[in-house]
Symmetry: C2
Subunit: 204 residues, 2 copies
Amino acid sequence: MALRPASPEGDTRQQILQRAITLFAGAGYAGVSVRDVAAQVGISAAALYHHFPDKQALYLAAMEHAFARNESGILAALESERSPLERLSGFVTGFVALAAGDQEFSKLVQRELLDGDEARLELLAEHVFRHPHAAIVALARELAPDLDSYILADSVIGLVLFSFQTAPLRRYLAGRAGPPERPEDIARHVMTLLTRVFARQDAP
Amino acid sequence: MALRPASPEGDTRQQILQRAITLFAGAGYAGVSVRDVAAQVGISAAALYHHFPDKQALYLAAMEHAFARNESGILAALESERSPLERLSGFVTGFVALAAGDQEFSKLVQRELLDGDEARLELLAEHVFRHPHAAIVALARELAPDLDSYILADSVIGLVLFSFQTAPLRRYLAGRAGPPERPEDIARHVMTLLTRVFARQDAP
DNA sequence: GTCTATAGCCTGATAGAC
DNA sequence: GTCTATCAGGCTATAGAC
């Protein structure tokens, strides 16, 4: 499974999935036609139907592909043996880099949150969020035992993702002159906030 | 403009807008046909074209209507003369209530963030976010002069909205047995976090 | 202001040749 | 595995009667 270097048939299939991810991320399921995807690959719609039985199956396979290619990345930072706050910082940095580097992924997640049926939401939870979410819940329990760890974990993820979701709007809200924030800026800001949240209040 | 009680023509137009908001929020621009909207109102598609020149104009009018009906609500809490932290709490409570009470509105905002062109994003910024955003920026500057007020304001809004965006996914993430959180729970949690962020660290 | 009818195009999907 | 050709149906939008 690891060696064979892109068998000829699998190559077209991979290319279809890649183009489909880009198009679906940009315009959503209803906004993309099978012909659109085929045209991007450079084949006819009929040829695409040789690789996937129907549009729904193509969409689902594209989701699985997009989610799987990001599955491992998020976890690395959480697995280390450093202090809780350092592990949290590692996760935030890695998650910001992921969201910034693969914006198609971020958009697909957003679209699934809006339109995903039960099966696709479970796929998203399983492949993308289940493991890191559990790790952050544990982390939150260590860092702030007095708060609800589950809601806290959601907030950590939310602080990162929301920065990217609202990026298109930020241009129209006053006060921001220069270019959009760099990923490092976002990660640093989120950690500034979280450090304050998790700081033990030793004083009154 | 205030007295005339629903002139006969305006009534159909209002009904079209109302149904369009519901449908567009549920399935997006590409996922809803003009026939769908007309059928919901109980008229033919041709009749709908008497009220709006084309589908794009119908969509834009629906957005304006959905945004306008929420314009005033968010602001009330921010205008009072209480302490900064009380005003923040008032905003969070009001904003959570808005997002929970009008989920069509929340969905439309999400969809616009994904698919909105420049004109519609500016509409969204102007009618929905500009004024409260500016107020929260000012609030953030009062509460934490050492942090970036703009990013901080985004985070406040993000903490609230993200709780609702991820609600469909939460069902598939471990640890949550009971029913989804009530709006009051979300508001209280967000304020718990923000109170910690804004607490002046008097001790080392 | 609403209807029926229809033009012209795009859609998902299939048949059959190569 | 890919093509051309095609089908049946849905789409936006318009024409014209009432």
